[in-house]
Amino acid sequence: MLGPTPPRWLARDARQTLLRVEAPRSRSRGPPIMKCLWLFVIVLCFTCEAANKPRRGRGSMWWGIAKAGEPNNLSPISPGVLYMDPAVHATLRRKQRRLARENPGVLSAVAKGASMAVAECQHQFKYRRWNCSTRNFLRGKNLFGKIVDRGCRETAFIYAITSAGVTHAVARACAEGAIESCTCDYSHIDRVPHRSRAAAAANVRVWKWGGCSDNIGFGFRFSREFVDTGERGKTLREKMNLHNNEAGRAHVQTEMRQECKCHGMSGSCTVKTCWMRLPSFRSVGDALKDRFDGASRVMTPNTDLEAPAQRNDAAPHRVPRRDRYRFQLRPHNPDHKSPGAKDLVYLEPSPGFCEKNPRLGIPGTHGRACNDTSIGVDGCDLMCCGRGYRTETMFVVERCNCTFHWCCEVKCKLCRTEKVVHTCL
């Protein structure tokens, strides 16, 4: 079941060829024809994938948007409006494009969230064998490479961090007023906050809080719509993706802090003002990295779940959208407890990241920098997988003696320092 199936790869290659052939042609033609062609290509893609039942979630191509901000992909002619290179746009599914069209301004937030997620992933895995490297997605490949084809821990983290990135960035853009369709929904202010039950129990009048604090709700809902497109939650892999996407969002939501302050005569609490504070994305990344280390392996549920899923693929009726989040994954080891809403789940053990493996898109740890004194994963022993390492001495020019000038400037000197660099063979 988990082994590679030849027809799928063939079909994928065929799709890539198609993309490559179509892309230049579409640029030279008028928009209506282009649209038709793209529609055709996308429908073709869907049919290819649906027919061959890929294990990889299909809604993940949008990650390519993270690179939209880079030169060549973003048109400089219209600042403010994010004009996507057609190739970037093509990575979006039809529903995602509709969402982007209906919510002007959201696309740049999604792009920001995705690149934030990539940067955070690379920060969290800087000193590990798998360092969350990305590759050029333009050739129709996945941004993170073929590793996402496997349902391993790394994939789980990628899904969670990207989903969290979108939630965070959209919520923030919403608060800053960058998304037109996300207005401060003042009509719901009098809705009781979460603490209401505890407060009511204490027989205290529930304080209402207002302001534009519901942005996280928009971010959360938008992320569900946008990120989870295509993950219908029928196969186990799709369930895994959905679970991890939800976990990423849950981390953003629960790390969000409500800050309040009392005002009144001599420190009493007559007037209470509250506001929500989004967590820094670093803290979300840290929390997800913790969950990565303690991720739970889940297993294929009983076959009775697989069978209808196959039938439903062609059937017209779909799983209601809300129901697709209602599932419970079983732990691989029956003695472990079932994964919670914030836990990351994976299906299969991670491949070794030591050696280059083109089939899985693993570059290997050759040439990676390592720390010769550390005994952890960043140490040369583990990082280089026992192959040994090369030590070089080089001079680097870097900023040093930085001082903070009030307010708000950091001035640094340039120092030339000698550095010993160890790189894996």
């Binding site: 809080w209 005002h263 420190g267 009493s268 007559t270 003002t273 506001w275 504070r277 820094s280 400037e409």
Partner: protein, 441 residues
């Protein structure tokens, strides 16, 4: 370069995320206050009403406003008002001389019992300020009855209207019954009136924004602990300025505290005199001017026959008990008392010794010191004492910075001690050191 941009961006995001809901909530609170008070003023202004009906109008609108703001616990304020009135009547049958004292004791006892046995801490924190204002008004009425300042006994409507008047039942400031009664007359209102309300509302919103968003942000947590203490104390002071200017807004919108040519005559606090203080004595005076007057008028003056020291001690005890049975307030108030006592005496001696104008209170016109206030020596000594005061203020105000759950349900003994321990009890030690110098001079 990238880091700088990132820094600015997150700061701006933080400010917008904090500022918008803060201002929104502040204005929402102000809206109810202003609407209730403007209705009161407009009815008084345009409907000719007999005296008692005006008071009852005050009573009704005030009760509505209270209920709208704090919900069911408003029954405690109404209860306090009613029982206090009944008690005054009853005591009047027995004695005509000790009503002030007896009422003070019973009102404070009522507040303490409420705090200890009846109300949960959160609810108490919520209504404490309101109860305090009501208690001050009741005690002032009782003392004025003793001093024969009323032609006859107040009727219930007058009394209730005074205590529950929407203009000052929530945030204060305290005003005497006679001022209140005078303010209820028809006023000459011009466009200036609206301008005054808007200006004061903007000032209060500015202080709210500073207190919630700017002050906690502009000094980072990693800075030296005294800077952090200064910041926390300043955030608390800003919150006090917000409450004070909001109370002016509520007074003005009811048309209270206006002179005949439509200028504001209510002064609650003077932020400039507290942020750049001359002395701790001045801070105590300008922190809450009406409260200061109340303490001086009804507590200090009543106790003066029994000696200066007793009077000071009783004043301190009453102001502390009015805040409830709380270690933090007692400790802070007692510290302020001792610090300002040491400061007052030390400055007196220094002024005599150096013949320089550096008393705790600025010299009046008849300054008989050799070095007047604009001489170099005077400026240097006064700056020195100002800096000491700023340090004292940071040390005392840091108490009121706490996690929200603490703010909401009251400060504990350990909270207070922890905060001071963190600063090594510096101000206490320093005050003791100054006292030793004073004794040696």
């Amino acid at each position: 370069m990238d880091e700088d941009e990132e820094y600015n961006e997150t700061a701006w995001t933080y400010i917008t995320l904090c500022g918008e809901p803060t201002l929104y909530e502040g204005l929402r609170f102000a809206k109810d206050l202003i609407i209730a008070n403007v209705i009161l003023r407009l009815v008084i202004q345009f409907v000719p009403l007999p005296h008692n009906v005006r008071h009852s109008l005050c009573l009704v609108i005030g009760s509505f406003l209270l209920y709208h703001n704090i919900g069911p616990p408003f029954i405690w304020t109404v209860g306090l008002t009613t029982s206090a009135y009944i008690l005054i009547i009853l005591i009047s049958f027995v004695t005509k001389k000790w009503r002030g004292l007896l009422m003070s004791i019973s009102v404070i006892a009522f507040l303490l019992l409420c705090e200890l046995y009846v109300l949960n801490p959160k609810m108490w924190q919520q209504i404490r300020g309101i109860q305090m204002i009501a208690a001050m008004k009741i005690i002032s009425v009782a003392f004025e009855l003793d001093r024969d300042l009323f032609k006859r006994m107040l009727n219930p409507v007058e009394f209730g209207g005074y205590i529950l008047c929407p203009a000052n039942c929530i945030l204060g400031p305290w005003i005497s019954f006679h001022t209140y009664s005078q303010y209820l007359e028809v006023k000459f209102l011009t466009r200036r009136w609206i301008k005054l309300i808007v200006v004061n509302l903007s000032i209060s919103m500015l202080f709210l924004f500073l207190s919630n968003c700017i002050v906690p942000w502009y000094i980072d947590d990693e800075m030296p602990k005294w800077l952090v203490a200064y910041r926390d104390a300043q955030a608390f002071r800003m919150s006090h300025y917000f409450v004070s200017s909001m109370s002016i807004v509520s007074m003005l919108s009811a048309g209270f505290g206006l002179t005949n040519d439509c200028h504001s005559e209510v002064h609650v606090t003077k932020p400039l005199f507290i942020e750049l203080p001359r002395s701790l004595v001045q801070v105590v005076i300008y922190w809450n001017i009406p409260m200061h007057q109340w303490l001086k008028n009804y507590v200090f003056k009543s106790c003066q026959p029994y000696g200066q020291f007793t009077a000071i001690l009783v004043t301190y005890a009453v102001s502390s008990l009015l805040h409830g049975l709380n270690f933090q307030f007692s400790a802070v108030l007692l510290s302020i008392g001792t610090f300002s006592y040491v400061e007052y005496n030390l400055r007196h001696k220094v002024a005599l010794a150096l013949e320089v104008c550096c008393l705790a209170n600025p010299c009046g016109k008849q300054c008989d010191h050799k070095y007047k206030k604009n001489t170099m020596l005077a400026i240097i000594t006064n700056t020195f004492f100002s800096i000491i005061t700023v340090i004292h203020l940071a040390y005392l105000g840091v108490m009121f910075e706490a996690s929200f759950s603490v703010q909401e349900s009251g400060y504990s003994y350990f909270h207070t001690i922890n905060k001071w321990e963190n600063l090594n009890y510096f101000s206490h030690g320093f005050a003791a050191f100054l006292y030793v110098i004073y004794l040696m001079m």
